[in-house]
């Protein structure tokens, strides 16, 4: 069942009731350990559970196989249990995958889209997928699941006699489980809970005992229409929805547990999606404005009054950490780098100016000179710079950036910063710090991804783990510079395949020097790399319409598995989904080559393949994408005709 945000509190109430009414009172939480949003969302949920005295186990996971392995003890479980999935599970039939019995309630908070349409069953209160009303793919756009669709397809090809038989069977089943008047909101009712996907009451009432040929034809037409709808849904709705941390912030807000910590987590989750082009800028601004209002609420004006009343006496502030909106420059880790390095390794600037080349560096220095920032100061740590250069950068960049092929709109954003004592950290810096920690691959350690996830979780508690944040920032700096240098090298040495007019471009990192860098095995780094390569290659063709989707295959990890990721080509304006066209081609290519995935990622445009499969996969993908493009052109012509 897909649950909208207005029922969040009921879902939470159901989780609490499950815990209190069961012998096994702990909630099992799985969090995808590949993105910062999962870190933030899991911290919010843990915080809420801690405050309400709910026991839990949090397991960071990086594939469905891992989820399945951890769920094995639940297969035979008899007591009621709740499993919460953060940023995993929405796109798949997780219950069947993990063979979970009906007494296990699954709550899915996932930003990956499309939501598997099998979750859209009103009567199924066992599997709850939380999707907000303002999600780019709202509940209304998910086709309603018809559990009999497969059987009916068979029925079409079968004889009339077999149809009658089946109808009888269905009637019998409907008779057994025909009490389909369960209240939608009554999620807390657990005993005797049983999935009743088959008992859609309306269907049973309308269905005749024996169908006439006209009725069968009509039913067939309806099924065909539904199949087309489903087909269009899975073709067009691949991308990202509302960040899970934002959704959980709505929950803690409704439960009146919200504070600056939850607000900051939501901000970080949202900023990550913008930095990775997973949502449009308009969509970001819509959600950001909502959070901005919350910052005013959390600012607590009473504190100022208390300060005045204290009259110099010892005063302990209520909120030790302050979050405030501000207009930030979109330069990567500017506060922790030098101005030159920050400009040089910011994806957008590097792609436009080609800063991996000497000419690009010269352009960059020319920009600095125009802005009256001496090169000596541009190469000094930003924190040690005099205030005058900081204000000069902010004042002069809007004027001189367009002269250097840089759009001012892409160089600044309305964001937030966190103030703690004398420290200040912006939301984008925090995202990079978390990514730096999450992608710090240690191939020799067995469970390094869980350790990385825990480090990132610790980093969110800035006030006591500032050293972890600083470590993350250093790692992020290395990541950004590695990406720019490696990608620059790949572009100059012609490793990026697909020309100016190709349907898409692709690169295999294993064929470059990046092979030895364990960081490039991480899907988040590969996505960052793909975005950079997409922009950098399009600017080489000096044309606005030269931007193409990008596919990047990573080098093999210690287990011989390579990660392949794809990013979309163009920004879709408005509060719309940023469609990734590669979900279906990837699946088709894999099935055409009979590739069985040993490790299934949580999103459908990230594939893990064995290193020997990467070459054939990339080759075959070209044909599949070509077929798709031809089909799309044909449909366009038909529509035009």
């Amino acid at each position: 069942m897909i649950v909208e945000a207005q029922y969040l509190l009921q879902v939470y109430g159901a989780i609490k009731n499950d815990c209190r009414g069961s012998e096994d009172q702990a909630v099992m939480c799985f969090a995808a350990c590949t993105d910062a949003d999962s870190v933030c969302a899991s911290q919010q949920l843990m915080n809420l559970f801690n405050r309400e005295g709910i026991f839990f186990t949090l397991i960071p996971v990086d594939s469905y196989e891992e989820v399945k392995a951890h769920c094995e003890p639940l297969v035979q479980a008899e007591e009621v249990k709740t499993v919460v999935l953060i940023n995993c599970g929405a796109t798949d039939d997780i219950r069947s995958l993990c063979e979970l019995p009906d007494n296990v309630r699954i709550v899915i908070i996932d930003h990956h889209r499309p939501v598997w349409h099998g979750h859209n069953v009103e009567d199924d209160t066992n599997t709850l997928v939380l999707v907000d009303e303002d999600d780019p793919v709202p509940k209304a756009s998910v086709p309603v699941y018809n559990p009999n669709e497969q059987e009916e397809d068979e029925e079409d090809s079968g004889s009339e006699a077999s149809e009658a038989e089946k109808d009888d069977e269905e009637d019998q089943e409907a008779g057994v489980s025909g009490d389909g008047d369960e209240d939608e909101d009554d999620l807390g009712v657990r005993p005797g809970r049983k999935r009743r996907r088959r008992s859609t009451g309306a269907d049973q009432e309308e269905r005749p005992a024996k169908r006439s040929p006209e009725a069968r034809a009509q039913a067939r037409a309806e099924r065909r229409k539904l199949a087309e709808l489903i087909d269009a849904y899975y073709s067009d709705c691949n991308g990202y929805g509302k960040p899970s941390s934002l959704l959980l912030f709505a929950l803690v807000n409704t439960a009146q547990h919200d504070d600056n910590f939850h607000l900051w987590c939501a901000i970080v989750g949202l900023t990550e999606q913008l930095l990775f082009h997973q949502i449009s800028k308009q969509q970001y601004n819509t959600w950001r404005e909502g959070l901005e209002q919350k910052t005013h609420v959390q600012a607590d004006p009473q504190e100022e009054l208390d300060n005045e009343a204290a009259n110099g006496l010892l005063h302990i502030p209520r909120q030790k950490v302050h979050v405030e909106p501000f207009d930030d420059l979109r330069l990567t880790l500017l506060r922790y780098w030098t101005i030159e390095d920050s400009l040089r390794y910011t994806g957008y600037v590097a792609a436009r100016l080609q800063t991996w080349r000497q000419k690009g560096l010269d352009n960059l220095r020319s920009l600095l000179t125009y802005m009256c920032i001496p090169l000596k100061h541009a190469t000094t740590a930003y924190k040690g710079l005099r205030e005058v250069y900081n204000s000069q950068l902010r004042a002069q960049l809007p004027r001189f950036a367009p002269q250097h092929m840089l759009a001012w709109d892409s160089l600044h954003l309305s964001s937030f910063r966190l103030l703690y004592k004398h420290e200040e950290i912006s939301a984008s810096d925090m995202v990079f710090a978390l990514l730096g920690l999450l992608t710090d691959a240690k191939p020799k350690e067995k469970s390094w991804h869980r350790a990385a996830f825990n480090d990132a979780s610790n980093a969110l508690h800035v006030q006591r783990n500032l050293n972890v944040v600083e470590k993350g920032i250093e790692l992020a700096k290395r990541m950004c510079s590695d990406v720019v240098h490696e990608c620059g090298l790949m572009i100059t040495s012609g490793k990026v395949k697909g020309g100016r007019n190709a349907d898409y471009r692709w690169v295999n990192v294993a064929e470059s020097n990046g092979l030895a860098n364990p960081r490039f095995t991480h899907p988040a780094v590969l996505k960052y790399m793909a975005l950079f390569l997409r922009d950098a290659t399009s600017h080489r063709y000096s044309s606005n319409d030269a931007r193409r989707p990008m596919v990047v295959a990573g080098p093999p990890d210690e287990g011989g598995m390579c990660c392949v990721v794809a990013v979309h080509a163009k920004h879709i304006s408005g509060n719309k989904l940023q469609k990734n066209p590669f979900a279906r081609p990837f699946i088709e290519t894999a099935s055409a080559l009979h590739i069985f995935q040993q490790k299934s990622a949580f999103e459908n445009t990230t594939f893990h393949l064995r290193k020997e499969e990467v070459g054939p996969f990339l080759d075959r993908l070209q044909h599949v994408v070509k077929e798709y493009t031809e089909e799309a052109k044909r449909l366009e012509q038909v529509a035009a005709a």
Binding site: E23, T57, Q319
Partner: protein, 220 residues
Amino acid sequence: MSELGRRARELLKELKSYGTGTLSPYNEELVRLIFSEIDEHNSQTEAIVSELRRKQAEAEAGAAGATPQQEVDELTATTMCLHYECIKRNKRLLLIYMNERMQRLKEMRWTLRALPEAQKARCCQSEIQFYNEYSRALQTYMSKSEGVGMDLTLDTRPPKDTFVNVRGLKDSGEVILSYGRATVLVGTTISLPAEEAEPLLRDGTVEMVDWDDGFGRNCS
């Protein structure tokens, strides 16, 4: 005289080889030998000092009225310093030995709540006496009538809440807790009652997660 300070070093090495949770048998023989070494150094020093005094007295008698000669030749001064440093070193190592054993005995009182027989057999009489007195003092402090009225040895760290969050340090499989089952794996976070977390924390299966409720609300 043996190699300078070798015995004291051996004594500490022996204690170190037994690990932090256990005691080595109290090596009375080696301690006695170290004391005798110290005595030997002391007697050597005394001999040198008496020799010096004798020379000084002779000089005073030989040249009555003249300024007495206070200077000591380099060899004598170095020898004296060496003996003195050896005494200090042996004393220091012996004190470390005693202190370390004392700390381990205290640790046992806090973690095991009683001195195991195997460990008791390794203690000398004065150590057993120390342990008993320490135990009695702690007991009095924790008693209701004279002290705080609670068992402080239940927690290795003062609890801030009735529930704590812990993180797995090794894969130790399923554990049965009062509220159900939980699987302890490396990197997984589990919330559980503080008293149930204590044994897992003591045997190093899990570590405490420094949790604060939001931004610094629950931190010190």
